[in-house]
């Protein structure tokens, strides 16, 4: 019995145990404080799908050996850029979609996703080339590459000559707005597709199931799962897990790392568009600055280490991390009135879990290559 418990404990791991316990406690407290649980759970589901694809982007990165991709901001800015293009071209309101506005919205979103993924692919290849030169310090370099690309894109957001009224400030102001409404393009498109109230209704704060969003998230998970199971995916995993062995069996390790980075970056672009449509706004400038950290934290909470990650880690980790934040916010507001605890909690939990994972990593680096 004791050994069984022990092995179960080891399988779950201390951090996940703490986070799960915490999750349950705040859920119970939400019930005690009489906060509308159905609405909260609906919010949890929404946030789950919202962050899911971004967190999923960590899997190919970790598996191919570059470690948690703190530089996911590279993909994020590509996604933001392509969304801006989609809004600027006003695809959703093209004359040919006049009869079916929903089709226009879909086209607009898919256009943004495909274009974003495409740009991100090229950026990812370049980024992979860089990371191949800095084996052993990928995490440090990628953190700062991520931070500097955000600062660099800030300059572009200010200077790019966008014409669309959705993007520009209404009066005065330079460049793009801080938050750009997606109401006229693809805001909440996935959420509403097949979405329904499982309990209650909108007025009474019911449990809304964002079917389309969740289906899309699981579809992406499935695609990546299939990719990781394919011959290329297996070669990539081998290259990440044991580069020397992989090289001996004829795998081009550097190429696999570039591939993993490119896939991860492209997923980042798709991920931010999924995020933005669920949120209803594009968040420009410094908003995505810390997103990489949160994504890394989510997958680590799910049970991944900095050298091994599975799809299940993404699904569990995102649910626990985002769910905890969603539920803790109103509870904290009841306990400590008038303060915003959620941001601080996010900071402490996400960075705490990353530090924990770093102390567990042998040798300190993601790649075992000597």
């Amino acid at each position: 019995m004791k050994s069984k418990l022990k092995s179960a404990y080891q399988a779950i791991g201390l951090p996940r145990l703490i986070i799960s316990a915490f999750f349950l406690i705040v859920l119970i407290m939400a019930g005690v404080y009489n906060i509308g649980i159905p609405a909260l759970l609906g919010d949890v589901l929404r946030r789950w799908g919202m962050y899911g694809v971004l967190v999923l982007a960590m899997v190919p990165a970790i598996q191919c050996g570059i470690g948690p991709n703190f530089g996911i901001s590279l993909g994020i800015v590509c996604g933001l850029f392509s969304s801006l293009i989609a809004i600027e071209l006003n695809i959703a309101a093209l004359p040919c979609f006049a009869s079916t506005p929903v089709l226009g919205q879909w086209c607009s979103m898919l256009f943004a996703m495909v274009l974003g993924a495409l740009i991100a692919w090229f950026v990812g290849v370049a980024y992979g080339l860089l990371l191949n030169r800095v084996k052993g310090s990928e995490m440090t370099v990628s953190t700062y590459v991520g931070l500097s690309i955000i600062a660099f894109m800030n300059i572009l957001w200010v200077t790019l000559p966008f014409k669309s009224g959705d993007i520009k400030w209404p009066i005065g102001g330079e460049g793009a707005r801080n938050t750009i409404s997606l109401e006229n393009s693809f805001g909440e498109l996935l959420n509403k597709t097949g979405g329904f109230y499982l309990i209650g209704s909108e007025e009474s704060g019911g449990l809304f199931i964002p079917t389309g969003l969740l289906v899309f998230f699981f579809l992406m998970c499935l695609l990546i799962y299939l990719f990781m199971r394919s011959k290329t995916g297996k070669a990539m995993t081998a290259a990440g897990a044991n580069p020397n062995f992989a090289r001996a069996s004829g795998i081009n390790v550097d190429k696999m790392r570039i591939l993993g980075t490119a896939v991860s970056t492209s997923l980042g672009a798709v991920g931010i568009i999924t995020y933005a449509q669920a949120f209803g706004f594009l968040q420009m400038y410094n908003a995505p600055l810390m997103m990489g950290f949160h994504c890394v934290a989510a997958i680590l909470i799910g049970g991944a280490s900095i050298s091994k990650a599975r799809i299940s880690h993404v699904i569990i980790g995102t649910f626990l991390f985002q769910g905890l934040l969603v539920i803790a916010l109103p509870v904290a507001n009841k306990v400590l009135v008038g303060t915003d605890l959620s941001d601080i909690m996010r900071m402490i939990i996400s960075n705490g879990i990353i530090i924990y994972a770093l102390t567990k990593a042998k040798g300190g680096t993601a790649s075992n290559e000597e």
Partner: protein
Amino acid sequence: MKNKNNLGESLNNAMRSLWNNKVVVMFVVLCVFGIATSGKSVSHTVTEVFTRFGRNAFLVLALIIPVLAGLGLNFGIVVGAIAAQIAIFWVVSWGFTGVTGLLMCVLICTPLAILFGWLVGKLYNKTKGSEMITGMILAYFADGLYQFLFLFLIGGVIPVNNPTLIINGGVGVKNTIDLTGNIKYALDTISMLSIIQVLYIILAVITAAKLISRLVKKRELHLKSLLLRFAAATVVFALTFVPAVQTFLGQDRLLLLNAVELACLGAALFAVYLLLKGMVGEKKPFAQCYKRPVALAIVAGIVYALTYVTAIFQILIAVSLPVCTYLLIAVICFFNRWILSTKLGQDMRTVGQSRTVANSAGINVDKTRIIATCISTVLASWGQLIYLQNLGTFQTYGAHSMVGQYAIASLLVGGASVQKANNKQAILGVVLFHTLFVVAPLSASNLFGSALIGEYFRVFICYGVIALSLAMHAWKVIAKKKEEKAQSDAAPAES
């Protein structure tokens, strides 16, 4: 023919040293360009840079010791800054002011910083090889804990009844704390006179202590040299009672012009001393020992003559230095050099070069690394005190967040790397980085009609230079490893 070769060689050397210092060269070019296009007078920029130098240099110098100990760039200095801010909050809430307040801050923040440094050092020991990424994440983690403390615990759990500091409602600290009237300029306004007085007293105490300890231990007294030193100090001290000198020293700010003049005078006196030492002390002929002193005197003369150029004169009279702060910066530079000559410093160097070698040499690697982290954290907390007392407003939730980034970027701009850093690079880096910081928004609004671009540009520069130098470092390490591997592969083949 030979001359031509020499010329080519020296040109080659010059090119190589330029290439080795490409980061510095790039930033010098950027700065000059920025100053030229900023649309403000040079003296304005120089004044700003000197102010910012006094504010930030200490923090940057706090980074040097961990680099020597092989910990890389210590992103964890944010933790030190946090210690300082906790101390400032309590000191302000207790109502201490001026130098007393500052000393109280030091008294509180030093043990805190040592504790934090010890914890950070422990963590670094658990993540050997990835200290930098740990430090980065740790900075954010500590920021979260700090916000938790300041937003919830203070007022929420720890009762603090001070309406000027606490948010209406009694929980959490306000966004900004005004330091005017309590510790603003507490350090900057210490006059030269009081510095001299304090130093004189310290010297007297040390002399007495030495005498007594030598008497007790019955060693040789060396009375003559001790008394001579003390007498010299007394003469200097007595000079401060001359009214003219007293009024001059009564100031807390030293005009840059006066500072340059004093430096020239000092250099000239030093030249005479060198000459006398060579000719009288070592009894060498004049021809053998004139070179250095004369060169020194000529340089001092030229610098002094330059102060009469109107443009330079105008800059020099526009800037006034807070003496005590600059003195402390000088002291910390000496400390960084001095520690290398101690056993501890040597140990740190060895650990920095190779942990395995250090271990087999009997050095306690973990302990040495913890001490290095502790020193860095304590220095960083003092640096943050200096920074905030000069700034005068304490942004409760933002003052520490960029400390690590800016300090590290400054150090790197000065030409330092992850494995090598010294005082010179730190000082040069602070000057260049902050020059760019001052002029970037001005030039951008001049050139593009938008100050925002400049703001983003300087943030980009800050992150970019860190990314670049981390990447270059990693690159170099890999190249070196490959080379070593190639050599070790080649060696058995030969034998």
